[in-house]
């Protein structure tokens, strides 16, 4: 029996999304370890060039499904298309990125074809002939090893940053066009206006120095010490999601998967624990300083320098020191 691994390739504005390339890199590694074949699956309309580009990666084939109805993501038509392909081809594993679009899609697909789904995985292990998937839970405080006991295909979504696109290997795979009859699918969800929250507002992508603040600041009135530190450094102020959700700072200052991505010279994280959704937005900073009371906070895994302590003591002292210098 030849076993197959399928990877869903998401795209937008004529580009393949990075999380999909990460999924493909993981698929390549799994295919190498098992001897399974690897296939990239891309849905859309007039996306031939993207399929060609995928064919230059180390894949056994690129499955290209084009239809006007697939031009933009819609859960009903995407679910139908994937259901047909997975039911017919019966791959061993179906990988996709744990991005918002697939949070919308993957459970629907799992219910439609009655197959198991494990979401937001950060890795896998081979145990004998079987794969064990690793995922985080309890706000990333704990990890869990999970194993499918269901029929194939197993559907897995992968956390952004779980693998690196640098691992991606080049090769050549044939583009295979696949036609599906989607004419009967009713699109119940009507797309209306889309907009970018940060448009015309604060652009932090070019900032050289950033002081970022998280849940540890506790309340809006306490932001003053952050403002003073930012002023002493000549830095921009940014925030993690909880601060923005509490409306202590505007959404255009949010860093992370649902905010901006930055790569400053210095990123000074105050009271930010370092959830992966935040880290993906700032991990490329040249120097990261973390100030946090919890010595086990994940932010210390990626920081250059760490201070385990109370930001209400450290930050004003740091501001004072910088002003003296």
């Amino acid at each position: 029996m030849s076993e197959k691994i399928y990877v869903l390739i998401d795209h937008g504005e004529g580009e393949i999304r990075t999380p999909s390339l990460e999924s493909l890199a993981l698929g390549q590694r799994m295919a190498e370890e098992t001897g399974f074949s690897l296939h990239a699956l891309i849905l859309g309309n007039e996306i031939g060039p993207l399929a060609e580009r995928l064919g230059k990666q180390k894949v056994d084939s690129v499955l290209l499904v084009e239809d006007q109805k697939l031009a933009n993501y819609d859960p009903d038509v995407y679910c139908r298309a994937l259901s047909e392909i997975l039911t017919e081809d019966q791959p061993y594993l179906f990988l996709m990125g744990h991005i918002y679009q697939n949070i919308d899609l993957a459970p629907k697909l799992a219910a439609a074809i009655n197959r198991g789904l494990v979401t937001d995985c950060i890795g896998y292990r081979k145990e004998g002939d079987d794969f064990v998937f690793v995922r985080q839970m309890f706000r990333n405080k704990l990890n869990a090893d999970v194993q499918f006991r269901s029929e194939h295909p197993w559907i897995v979504t992968l956390q952004t940053g779980a693998t690196s696109v640098d691992e991606l290997k080049e090769g050549s795979g044939q583009v295979v066009e696949r036609s599906l009859d989607l004419s009967a699918v009713e699109l119940r969800r009507k797309p209306l206006e889309a907009f970018e929250a940060t448009q015309g507002k604060v652009d932090l992508s070019q900032a050289e120095l950033i002081v970022a603040v998280g849940r540890g600041i506790k309340k809006a009135e306490n932001l003053k010490i952050i403002e003073e530190l930012a002023e002493a450094l000549g830095a921009e102020i940014a925030a993690s999601r909880p601060v923005v959700d509490s409306e202590w700072l505007s959404r255009d200052r949010q860093i992370g998967s649902s905010g901006q991505t930055v790569s400053p010279r210095l990123y000074l994280a105050c009271g930010i624990s370092g959830a992966i959704q935040h880290i993906v937005g700032m991990k490329n900073a040249q120097c990261i300083v973390a100030i946090n009371t919890d010595p086990n906070a994940p932010i210390f895994n990626i920081a250059t320098y760490g201070i385990v302590g109370d930001l209400f003591e450290i930050v004003p002292a740091l501001t004072k020191k910088l002003k003296e210098a």
Partner: protein, 260 residues
């Protein structure tokens, strides 16, 4: 409008957890419990929609008997009634199984909108709401940040959060399922009057065994092991008094990292 909100009771978010004896979950004996954050926001949205359009808010929970305490809180916030599907033995483990049970209970209910959290704070699968929609044959929208309902036209507009700071409005025919993102609004406190009234409100208990659900047909996924992640600390942790660490930091930023 008939609104139905799915609430999950979870262990207190700020607790330091301990692994249970079997190594497959956490010890729950000494914990306090609360409503999962996104679910509390989804209840808040239901209450706001009822204030605007009239109607009823019902809570649907699957869990053990202790979940009644969280349901009472929801009733005190203003929900009209509640259904608790009792799973005292923890038989329903996967999101798919949860959705199957909830879908079965909902066969007997009338609703225009079902609101759930986008994901829970315990297992964080981010699946149940969407699974439920598909099992009920309903359209859905996930990661919703704002809702505008038009009961007369049987339509609802939802603002979805998307990748990289983008948002999009979508329109769905009702009934529909929306999964709510945390931070969508400010959650109300229960008033004293609300707390008093909640004591008299109905929580209908449904036994799992009384439902016509075949859990053996649900795709099984097993949690083999739960453990603390191995932390590989990359950061150079600065040691000393506040004055000392601050001095070291400024020195290092200037001379070692050369970033200021």
């Amino acid at each position: 409008m008939k609104l139905l909100t799915c609430l999950k009771q979870i262990p207190d978010r700020d607790t330091r957890y301990e692994i249970n004896a079997a190594g497959t979950g956490i010890k729950t004996s000494d914990l306090t419990f609360e409503i999962s954050e996104c679910d509390e926001y989804s209840l808040e949205e239901s209450l706001k929609l009822r204030e605007e359009h009239g109607g009823e808010v019902a809570i649907l929970t699957l869990g053990p008997q202790r979940a009644e305490k969280s349901i009472r809180k929801g009733l005190a916030m203003g929900a009209d009634r509640a259904i608790l599907v009792r799973d005292d033995e923890g038989k329903v483990t996967t999101p798919h199984a949860v959705a199957k049970v909830l879908a079965e209970v909902l066969k007997e209910e009338e609703y225009d909108l079902i609101l759930t959290g986008t994901q829970s704070d315990d297992w964080s699968y981010a699946q149940t709401g969407v699974l439920l929609a598909e099992l009920l044959g309903l359209p859905h929208a996930t990661i919703v940040m704002e809702i505008r309902a038009d009961p007369a036209q049987k339509k609802v507009k939802a603002l979805r959060e998307m990748e990289s700071g983008w948002f999009q409005w979508v329109e769905l025919p009702m009934p529909a399922v929306l999964t709510i993102q945390a931070g969508i609004s400010q959650i109300r406190y229960a008033s004293l009057k609300g707390i008093m009234q909640a004591k008299k409100k109905e929580i209908r208990n449904v036994e799992l065994s009384d439902l016509n659900v075949d859990l053996s047909s649900v795709p099984e996924v097993e949690v083999l092991k739960v453990y603390f992640p191995v932390v590989e600390k990359k950061a150079e942790i600065l040691q000393g008094s506040t004055a000392e660490v601050v001095e070291q930091l400024v020195e290092k930023l200037k001379k070692e990292a050369k970033v200021i």
